[in-house]
Symmetry: C2
Amino acid sequence: MNGTRDDASGASTQERLIEAARELLWERGYVGTSPKAILQRAGAGQGSMYHHFAGKQELALAAVRRTGEELRSATDQLLDGDGSAFSRIEAYLLRERDVLRGCPVGRLTMDPDVIADEDLRAPVDETISYVEERLAAIVQEGVDSGEFSARLVPAEIAAAMVATVQGGYVLARASGATESFDGAVRGLLALLRS
Amino acid sequence: MNGTRDDASGASTQERLIEAARELLWERGYVGTSPKAILQRAGAGQGSMYHHFAGKQELALAAVRRTGEELRSATDQLLDGDGSAFSRIEAYLLRERDVLRGCPVGRLTMDPDVIADEDLRAPVDETISYVEERLAAIVQEGVDSGEFSARLVPAEIAAAMVATVQGGYVLARASGATESFDGAVRGLLALLRS
DNA sequence: GTCTATATGGTGATAGAC
DNA sequence: GTCTATCACCATATAGAC
């Protein structure tokens, strides 16, 4: 059994296929990623993928699920802890990001074949909803403690935060530079402070 | 000469090709759109497109430029006029949108072949920058008139506004519903008011 | 489990008749 | 200007040997 191998170089073929698919889905999306490209990046032969997965969709599903899990877990690390509501939100917004690569989960929402496939869309939806809900709970804490105005609706503020990040990627990729992403985040933080 | 024909049904073949390309680029992006699909939607034969355009890229370029022009012009209509800064910004944010279809310009930033092609990216960048700059000027007006806090940096607030809209599309398409788009916009407006 | 054929249809473009 | 071949190559998947 090799199911326990976990490092990159000595990983099983199945593992390398999932990792190659994750990279390509991030770079090129679902429509822009061919099984051939995945196999080449994974260093596997044609038939290898169809032994482990029924096809492109099933492999992509495994890849998207894992990426979603990773993102939720990274979000937990940023939002857990006992700082003020503002400081935890700031940590989320100012988190180091590969801005010009975009969000590996959010970018999939622009992929027509992902949105058309309930199974592929589900992990995307779950991940984004999870982040929204965690942020909303922290905003609620801030409202309860008097840190934020009681007029704010936590779910709406949380949606604005996630949208600012997701849209920040759009601005940055349009201009080819990270400034507008950083600007959008600073603008939102300024509004939160005022 | 038929270059002056302008309506949909009686439009020239070249015109129908551009319109078909605009629709498909919106729905499926550049990578997801084939010349064949464009020709079928335009009701044109294979060779027709290569008479008017050098290839897929050149046709897409004409389509993206036109979509960008339309979006800038629609933005002008919303932001021109003499209401308060807040009311004009509100008009922009609350504008009627086909939320689940996403932004016909912003969605192209997630297309690897658009971002890799300077000519295709240029009209995307120009359009998004234009909207940001127009909004920033209005925020500046609001700061000057005392409507907004002088601590706000207009370019950052404008970036947060455009990002909220662009990211709102991501939230909506992830969930398959428009609520989170509306929530994000309402959240941003609440922060602007407070 | 992995490999090398092989198959069917799509992609992006060209050639040349009408 | 538009059409119908035609092309070389890619996308996605299957078959079957090893």
